[in-house]
Amino acid sequence: MSRIRLAGATRAAIVIGALALFPFLVGQQWVQIGVLTLMYAGLATAWNLVGGYAGYVSLGHVAFFGVGAYAVAVAFTRWFSIGGGYRPFYVLPLIGIGVALVSVPIGWIAFRTRAATFAIVTLTLLFVVQQLAFNLHSLTQGSLGILLPQPSFPNSEYEQPFYYAMLGLLVLGLLVSRWVATSKLGLTLFAIRDDEDRARGLGERVTLAKLMAFALSTGLAGMIGAVWAYHLGQIYPQFAVDPLITIGMVLMVYLGGKGSLWGPVLGALILVPAQQELAYDYGSSELYLIAYAGVFLAVMLVMPRGILPSLTEQWRRRSARSRPTRPSQRAEEPATS
């Protein structure tokens, strides 16, 4: 048991260490792609708490991303100054908690539905928030968008603070995911994914479990949205609450492996740079959507459970096939001696 835990911690340290070193090795344009990659890795990890663990496919997560984005944009254009440029990062926990609290009553209603209906209800939420952003002029300036103050970070390292903020949120997301997966909360969520009615019949508090997962997930998405808005420097309703961001995070989770800890990160590490590459090479920013479809098809055909679970399963089968000789020998030893 502890050896497994040690191996997991080592793997995490290597991956996070490599991601932390990355900005030192490459130029600013790559760090910028890194910011976007980590953003999606964090979003996918957050989405996985609900979509992967509990099996509730939410298409509305970007609504909370957008709420977080507008929270930071409104707060730092109207009420506060960004100071040295780091202040927006310091209020992230508040934004996370705020978004999580807002999501609870919404989740309470949405979770009365299941499966496809839940997906549609949450998708509706996305458009509700987008319409609010368009129409609450006094707060969001509607389609004019909000221009955020620009921090005075040095040009040569301008991307770094955003990169590390996103990395920090990803690590937070991974820690939360890992904690959930090894706790009673996670066990209840997995049971909900398998058979919610039976879990309820056994006396489990399924509604509470779903709401807790939802709040954790949306809180993370809100904080990531806040960093995104600050990084971009200007936000508009159609980009802050963009269905494509929702599709992106869902797709990355399915590609990497739904319900696994590292699957969503892997999915983002593959898809985001690939998407940027396509955008640069072919000039069209929408072309990646066709590639998305291609990737999705390939995953469904070759590894329907996603990359990580499929590989783990193969590895487990292979080691199980090669093993039988040794344990049986060991079992016979006491008898012969």
Binding site: S183, F190, A191, D194, A199, E204
Partner: protein
């Protein structure tokens, strides 16, 4: 013997169909009570009403001396009433141990605890051993055979030490060896003081296992008594064989 579960004047209609109509019965503490009736007589609906899976149109349920105003599966489970389903229902992607541990309801503040505690694991392994499933303790439950899944579902109901277990066709679709094992478990647990309410189609099982037997037809109780008495009751014969 006091009544552990009392249902009085239960009523439920689905559209124009009256599934359960003025159904009254009680399950005495310490018995294995059988609930039988021809197909469509409302047995499973009665189960669903009593356990709160389906809301009743009328009637009252009293469990363990407490009047349950609006039965809900989770609430009743926490009070000590657990059911199984006609089709074995387990959590296929979770291991056998996890399946059992899930049957121990947690208070809300317990969500942060380790998913499978040491003592919980010991208790789960003890139960798996009793049901001959210990060798598969850490296998995903979906990999078990159907008969084994039935046994696992049964074992899971015992995890939380309930007072009353509702078995919905415990022997449906399993081979005679597993039927024998399930019935012997029911007998053994009943001797230890656990009360059962069993819906069953296999009359041999009912006659050998249940006492008393309640007969439903058209959503109402038409007979109640010892198995051999019920078997000769003209109303029961009429319900099963028709006029």
């Amino acid at each position: 013997m006091s009544a552990l579960l009392e249902a009085s004047a239960l009523r439920k209609r689905f559209g124009g169909v009256v599934a359960v109509d003025d159904c009254t019965f009680s399950v005495a503490s310490g018995t294995v009570t059988g609930l039988i009736g021809p197909n469509g007589s409302g047995k499973t609906t009665v189960f669903n009403l009593v356990t709160g899976y389906v809301g009743a149109d009328g009637g009252a349920v009293t469990f363990d001396g407490v009047h349950i105003r609006r039965p809900s599966p989770a609430l009743l489970a926490r009070r000590g009433l657990i059911r199984t389903f006609q089709q074995a229902r387990i959590f296929p992607q979770l291991t056998l141990v996890e399946n059992l541990v899930l049957a121990l309801p947690q208070p809300w503040w317990g969500f942060g605890r380790a998913s499978v505690g040491r003592e919980e694991r010991l208790r789960a392994e003890h139960l798996l051993d009793e049901f001959g499933l210990l060798a598969h303790a850490d296998v995903a439950a979906g990999e078990l055979s159907y008969g084994q899944q039935k046994l696992l579902e049964f074992a899971a109901t015992l995890m939380s030490r309930p007072k009353l277990v509702l078995l919905d066709e415990p022997t449906a679709g399993v081979n005679p060896v597993v039927v024998e094992r399930i019935t012997s478990h029911v007998r053994r647990l009943n001797e230890q003081g656990l009360t059962f309410l069993v819906v069953e189609h296999d009359m041999n099982v009912v006659m050998s296992l249940c006492d008393p037997v309640i007969v439903l037809d058209g959503g109402a109780t038409i007979a109640e008594g010892k198995p051999h008495e019920v078997q000769r009751d003209p109303a029961v014969l009429d319900a099963y064989l028709g006029e």
